[in-house]
């Protein structure tokens, strides 16, 4: 079902198929791991096995002496800035005095064969004086600094209204979310090729070419324009490629050896070599009046940022802004802190900040509903944000705020049929546990849960957020150039459609994304590319269309004012001229080229009370989950996910729904299976055997209850980004359904079987208190 308030467009809104689909289906699309260059070397990184240690000595001679080894690099070999970082360069390219997390890079080697490179890396002898790691974020706030910049990576308060206000009914709860991994299928890989004149080309799977270029150039000490970053095929990203992984060491190896060098992370190294979703601890207190209207939300939220800053400030800012959920909250007090520890660094992952707090605020809403004796859907309806409301940050919501529509659509969708377990054989794949540890059919309970969530799209908090696009029209053929990273989401299709829409043609070619000759497109994150680069491409094509119109007027000898652009065509008042823009341009015999920078409306910083118009636009999301739970084994089978999304305008229905299904599956995974287990700073499960992501059997059907199309004023075509929202409320909905099925007050994502089974074991009192974890 599509709720439509937007008039249709000729090309946009159609399910155009991906332009790269043919190559990907045939296996000829080149991912970054598929690149090669004659005579290239292979690189490998030396990583710390300790979460906290002093480096007493590094002996590289055994590695150097190895036949086939071409270079071994340490911190002293970094000619430029010794550190890097997305927000602030606090992370060493190579650790030299101290290591602060397991997997921190200490050295890099290049050799003529991947195996030799690995052996040479193993031969680099590092003597560590092992220290005591700080692995608890609460302890970190009081502990000796893990880094000279201290153990507070970010903090933000939100103070609104009367913090002493109190309603008639008060509920409190403690919630936790674990460390999730993006787990893209294509691990990190890149190829660096020196140009022989001090410059370098790097072909890499990344999310943001120009920020890579900035950081590589600074550490190489090589001028910006001599560091050329090219997008290589990306096998998924979901936030994990926003930080650098191997770029600087790889370029250094290539410059040092004067040869092309390739590096590919294995799966285990990938788990160590990129940031994860921040684990969160969340204490909440909601109060409401007897009619269920929220009076106040209080929260204390602590994130574990791991050893380095990455994008923690932005994640934390989201945590603070969205802590109360998409509800009217007159009074609030939120205290959010991100601590530095010796755990693996955390940073961007789909929906960041909002995913964690959604688990907590939605559990609180259910708890409040129970305390009030009210239907949880009704409680949400009463408190849902509406157009013109303001957030706890004081920002007034402009444009679409379809929270109630999403809630209604999700909660009123038909439920899947009940299972008749009496006739089910043990081992039936529909049972929780599937064919493995199969549940006892008659001990399976069904539950239903609903959750709402929201998030900002694009970059917030006064960030200078822009994207540059070039449109060239020559002989009727359109070439679009941007540096935007296609990571699988389908931006390439949308850019085709947008250019085609404005210029009235399907003859559109996208140039390869690189930093050469074009400005930044910004990051493929924060659900921003369809708006930002989509907007830049629209504006560049519009500028070309305007020029074509002027040239056409001159060519046919009519006043310019007698011609108009309509639906990708140049049309005259008298109807004598009516041609697609691209064709009109070809008839003029000229080449038209325009480069345009698209910027969204300016945003402000949050002040110390968390007040300010920090965001440019918001998206809202709703999910309903249906689960079957085996109460003895604590196994959860997600039976169905239903979702309703606030999309602004649908640009490509098939791709949009693809994003929604994929995002929902990552949320389902986070609810029931995905967690990096970190003990004493060590990831215990860095493999796809032990870090399980959903298979086709774990994923239920995803039903789209509504795509609410209410074009957002100020955004190109009124379309909102769609990458993150489906990942926000899906986890919380599954947890709510598990609580409904079992009565156990599950308070953590992911829920592990013992959290359910032990809480319901004979002799315990189900649902009396928080299952899973208790606050430290």
């Amino acid at each position: 079902m599509i709720v439509t308030k937007a008039p249709p467009l000729p090309r946009l809104g159609k399910s155009l198929r991906r332009p790269d689909g043919m190559a990907k289906a045939r296996g000829v699309f080149k991912f970054s791991s598929d690149l090669d260059e004659p005579g290239m070397l292979w690189g490998h990184l030396v990583r710390s096995p300790h979460p906290a240690a002093r480096i007493a000595e590094i002996d590289i001679s055994p590695a150097r002496a190895m036949a086939g080894a071409a270079a071994v690099l340490l911190a002293g070999d970094v000619p430029g800035r010794p550190t890097y970082g997305l927000n602030y360069p606090d992370q060493p390219v190579f650790a030299s005095d101290e290591v602060r997390h397991v997997g921190e890079v200490v050295a890099a080697v290049a050799a003529d064969h991947p195996l030799t490179a690995r052996r040479a890396a193993e031969a680099v002898a590092v003597r560590y004086e092992v220290g005591e790691p700080v692995t608890d974020p609460e302890v970190a706030l009081r502990a000796a600094p893990v880094h000279p910049l201290g153990n507070v990576l970010a903090e933000q308060r939100v103070v609104r209204g009367d913090v002493a206000a109190e309603g008639d009914v008060v509920v409190e709860g403690y919630y936790e979310t674990g460390m999730q991994d993006q787990a893209f299928l294509g691990t990190e890989a890149a190829l660096a090729v020196p140009d022989g004149q001090g410059g370098i080309d790097i072909y890499v799977a990344t999310q943001w070419l120009h920020i890579d270029q900035d950081q590589i150039s600074a550490s190489l000490g090589v001028p910006h324009d001599q560091v050329r970053v090219h997008l290589a095929g990306v096998g998924g990203s979901f936030g994990a490629r926003e930080d650098l992984s191997m770029q600087i060491p790889l370029c250094l190896l290539a410059l040092r050896t004067g040869r092309a060098v390739k590096m590919v992370f294995g799966r285990e190294e990938s788990f160590l070599g990129h940031v994860h979703r921040h684990p969160a601890r969340m204490w909440y207190r909601h109060s409401a009046d007897r009619s269920g209207r929220l009076v106040k939300v209080e929260a204390r939220i602590l994130l574990d940022g791991g050893a380095y800053l990455s994008s923690s400030p932005a994640v934390l800012s989201n945590v603070a802004c969205f802590a109360a959920g998409p509800y009217r909250v007159p009074n609030a007090f939120v205290e959010a802190t991100c601590a530095r520890t010796n755990n693996p660094p955390c940073g961007a992952m789909r929906g960041f900040g909002s995913v964690q707090v959604c688990v907590a605020h939605e559990a609180q809403m259910d708890r409040l509903a129970a305390a009030l004796g009210m239907d949880p859907i009704e409680l949400r309806r009463r408190n849902a944000l509406r157009p013109g409301d303001d957030l706890v940050t004081g920002q007034v919501l402009e444009g679409a705020v379809p929270v109630i529509e999403l809630l209604e659509a999700c909660s009123s969708a038909p439920l899947p049929p009940e299972r008749h377990w009496e006739t089910t054989e043990p081992g039936d794949l529909a049972l929780p546990g599937g064919s493995g540890r199969a549940a006892e059919p008659l001990r399976v309970r069904r539950g239903v849960g609903v959750a709402l969530g929201f998030k900002n799209i694009m970059f917030s908090c006064a960030f200078d957020d822009y994207s540059v696009a070039r449109c060239r029209l020559e002989g009727g053929r359109v070439t679009i150039t941007t540096a935007a990273a296609e990571v699988g989401q389908g931006l390439v299709t949308l850019l085709h459609q947008i250019a085609g829409e404005v210029l009235g043609t399907d003859e559109v070619v996208l140039a390869e994304a690189s930093t050469v000759g074009i400005g930044s497109a910004g990051s493929t994150s924060a659900s921003r590319q369809s708006v930002m680069t989509g907007g830049a491409v629209q504006a560049a094509c519009q500028a070309v269309a305007d020029a074509v119109l002027a040239a056409t007027a001159a060519r046919v000898g009519v006043p310019r004012a007698s011609l108009q652009l309509a639906g990708g065509r140049v049309v005259s008042d008298d109807g004598c001229v009516d041609v697609p823009v691209a064709e009109a341009g070809a008839l003029c015999g000229e080449c038209f080229e325009e480069t345009v920078t698209y910027q969204h409306a300016a945003t402000a910083e949050l002040d110390e009370k968390g007040q300010g118009d920090a965001h440019v636009a918001f998206v809202f999301s709703a999910h309903r989950a249906v689960v079957d739970v085996d109460v003895d084994l604590g196994l959860v089978k997600v039976v169905e996910m239903t979702t309703a999304q606030d999309v602004g305008r649908v640009l490509n229905p098939l791709q949009l729904v693809g994003q929604i299904e994929g995002g929902t599956s990552q949320g389902v995974g986070f609810a029931v299976m995905e967690e990096l287990i970190v003990e004493h700073g060590r990831v215990r499960n860095p493999s796809f055997t032990d870090y399980a992501i959903p298979t086709a059997l774990d994923m239920p059907p995803v039903r789209i209850a509504a795509l609410v199309q209410e074009p957002q004023p100020g955004l190109p075509f009124g379309a909102k980004g769609a990458g993150e929202p489906p990942a926000i409320s899906s986890t919380a909905a599954v947890l709510a359904a598990v609580r409904d099925a079992t009565g156990v007050a599950v308070n953590r994502a992911p829920v592990h079987p013992p959290d359910i089974a032990l809480a319901l074991a004979p002799g315990t009192r189900a649902g009396q208190g928080d299952a899973g974890v208790t606050p430290s």
Partner: protein
Amino acid sequence: MSTAQAVSHFAISCEVNGTTVDRVVAVRQLLADFIREDLGLTGTHLGCEHGVCGACTVVLDGEAVRSCLALAVQADGRSITTIEGLSGDGLTSMQQAFRRAHALQCGFCTPGFIATLSVADPSDYHDEAGVRQLISGNLCRCTGYENIVAAVCEEWGIERS
């Protein structure tokens, strides 16, 4: 070479996508690395290197095999078909179904799915649950499987539940 010393290399002869290939390979070399590095057939992808994700699936003597779990020497005297061989010059109808149904986003998992499906007998599958079971050994992180299931069901004429 004394008999106590391990054999480090081995000459193999196999058929790859219909062409006979004679090579000397390291005995410990993985079939996946042989296919990707030695033969340059990079459509076979490595997602986990230990038999979980299915991205490296190839067809070995008519059976779907994870090439990260097989050694190159095991291909001696046998016939391998990779995604490049499955595709030929165009797309098979299953590949077309994937493209039509938007069953691929990043596309890293796609060759593995296509290889798994290429050796399955459609007449063994009557419902969506069966299709899900068939492809449950292939991981996809982007799609949530919905469109992959849709593509297979469409191609095999299975009504979705």
